[in-house]
């Protein structure tokens, strides 16, 4: 029992130490603050935009606010996450860590946890600004926290993707691939909805359906529409969405750890 407990404590302390450093490193990034400033500006602008749309201030502020949070947290995940592993290798600072008894898998996990923490702080700041704007227009609803939870789930997936590509490719390639994942994840819903009615051959239709089930669907992790229209979330949706996210994260982090373990760093 004692060695297991000890190894678990070691595991936690190592992962936490790497995560804490990743957090410190990431919050020093200029990109982080530039994107945060733009997002806060746009959230403030939603207040003005709301008054241009006769009588539907609350809906516009909610829609613009939640969309801004989604777009900008995704951009932050992409731009901050892409170089996290690669730059450690490029600058050879990774040797300081790997020379200690730290497993490469723990390094990946620590990096992931650190980046996720940065993004959650970012998300919390944006949600606070959106709440303030909603209070100003007299349309605050606690359901924006539920919407933020689903945005956090999406960020968990996106961060895992960014870490995966960062562990196997250069920052530019990694940025392109992560951005492509985000775009595919948010457009795959359109396959059965927009593309399927235009395909006539049975084989083509089967291919479109198969493609849709193979590709990730990040829109499934969004409840923006339900929050904007005060509609309830279907029972069982939240645990399933959480499980879907965790599965994705486990798969991606395992792949990252495996590829990073096999990588020759000398």
């Amino acid at each position: 029992m004692i060695p297991t407990r000890e190894s678990a404590r070691l595991f936690r302390s190592q992962v936490w130490a790497i995560a804490r450093n990743t957090f410190r490193e990431s919050v020093r990034s200029r990109v982080f603050y530039i994107l945060l400033a733009f997002a806060v500006g746009l959230l403030g602008f939603s207040y003005v935009l709301g008054f241009l749309a006769v009588g539907i201030v609350r809906k516009v502020v909610l829609d613009v606010g939640l969309a801004t949070i989604s777009y900008f947290t995704a951009l932050t995940a992409i731009f901050v996450g892409i170089g996290l592993v690669y730059q450690e290798i490029e600058k050879k600072t990774i040797y300081n860590i790997l020379s200690k008894p730290v497993d490469r898998g723990r390094f990946i996990l620590g990096r992931y946890a650190g980046l996720l923490l940065v993004l959650l702080v970012n998300l919390a700041a944006m949600v606070a600004v959106l709440s303030l704007v909603l209070v100003l227009v007299g349309g605050f609803t606690p359901r924006i926290f539920a919407a933020a939870y689903f945005t956090a789930l999406e960020l968990m997936v996106l961060t895992a993707v960014a870490i995966f590509f960062s562990s196997v490719a250069s920052p530019v390639v990694s940025a392109l691939c992560t951005a492509a994942f985000y775009v595919i994840g948010h457009t795959s819903t359109a396959l059965p909805e927009v593309l399927l009615p235009q395909v006539e051959s049975i084989l083509g239709r089967k291919f479109v359906v198969l493609l849709y089930h193979v590709l990730p669907d990040l829109n499934m992790l969004s409840i923006t529409n339900l929050v904007a229209h005060d509609l309830p979330v279907a029972p069982g949706f939240t645990p399933r969405a959480t499980l879907y996210t965790l599965l994705f994260v486990v798969i991606l982090l395992s792949a990252s750890a495996l590829s990073f373990r096999r990588r020759d760093l000398l």
């Binding site: 935009l49 749309a53 006769v54 829609d63 613009v64 777009y71 985000y182 359109a190 927009v194 923006t224």
Partner: protein, 291 residues
């Protein structure tokens, strides 16, 4: 200040002036575009669904703000072609965007685009299955502006099915049925309204009772006149001449009996023209209306 700095400043100022003149020339070119050109900027809803990257409500809101703010800037002929498309696109992106249907119908009614209005309203009604306000709005446009009582009755019937307790909807449904020529159903509705306000002496109660009395009177007369005129026409077709009296219709089997008007008096008949009419119009303070 060194010469290099001064030269750099002059160069910068020259670039700024060039940019300014380019800006005004671009603005001139842009002003020359027709309104139609600018309104083509809204892509199809299929494209927007893909390009919105999951944030469909956000893009629907932006198109809505654009549509509301710029409605006045376009000529009617341009609006007519693009208004439905604009609201169709944004309601494809956010099908529960109720205000978009309401404003879309308002704008289409101002341009008297009735078919487009019915299409947009039908889409909103189908996608917002519990909402009664949209069929109510569409019904009022059809009734008061388009004078399309067929459509008005259809919309008020939907509104009534969704909100059976609202008296204004019952009132408008009964009216549109009457104007459509469905006197029997209209009479049923007005009789129910009359019963609902029996003994209610509030201003609202008296208002609806009077409206019901007037319409019940009118509808009874219309139903009787329709039957009498049909019988006169059938008599004339078979015999080649008009009946001399209304009782001739009963005698020759064209009617089971001659109806009396709501005052209990016989209808007036002109044997030279075959015209049938009521003895007296509805009396607001008379014996029939309980006012």
């Amino acid at each position: 200040m060194s010469l290099r700095h001064a030269l750099a400043l002059i160069l910068l100022a020259a670039l700024l002036v060039t940019a300014g003149s380019l800006h005004s020339s671009l603005a001139d070119i842009r002003a020359g575009y027709s309104d139609e050109f600018r309104s083509y900027y809204i892509p199809s809803s299929g494209y927007m669904k893909v390009a919105s990257l999951g944030q469909r409500n956000f893009w629907a809101d932006l198109i809505f703000v654009w549509a509301v703010q710029y409605f006045d800037r376009y000529g009617e002929e341009v609006r007519g072609a693009n208004l439905l498309r604009t609201f169709d696109t944004l309601t494809d992106l956010d099908p529960r965007f109720f205000e978009a249907y309401i404003f879309g119908c308002l704008f289409l009614s101002l341009d008297q685009e009735w078919d487009a209005l019915y299409r947009l309203a039908d889409k909103g009604i189908a996608l917002n299955s519990k909402n009664w306000l949209l069929p109510w709005e569409a019904g009022t446009y059809a009734f008061f502006q388009a004078k399309d009582y067929e459509q008005a009755a259809r919309y008020f019937q939907i509104a009534h099915d969704r909100n059976p307790g609202e008296i204004l909807i019952k009132d408008m449904l009964a009216n549109s049925l009457k104007y459509r020529g469905d006197y029997g159903r209209s009479l049923d509705f007005w009789t129910k309204i009359r019963d609902q306000f029996e003994g209610d002496d509030s201003p609202r109660g008296r208002f609806f009772r009077l409206a019901a009395d007037r319409n019940i009177f009118d509808l009874r007369v219309k139903i009787d006149l329709r039957r009498l005129e049909a019988a006169v026409a059938a008599f004339s077709k078979e015999r080649g001449t008009l009946p001399q009296r209304l009782s001739d219709l009963v005698r020759d089997g064209f009617l089971p009996g001659v109806p009396m008007d709501p005052y209990g008096e016989p209808y007036l008949y002109d044997p030279s023209s075959g015209e049938v009419r009521c003895s007296k119009p509805f009396n607001f303070r008379g014996a029939y209306g309980q006012w």
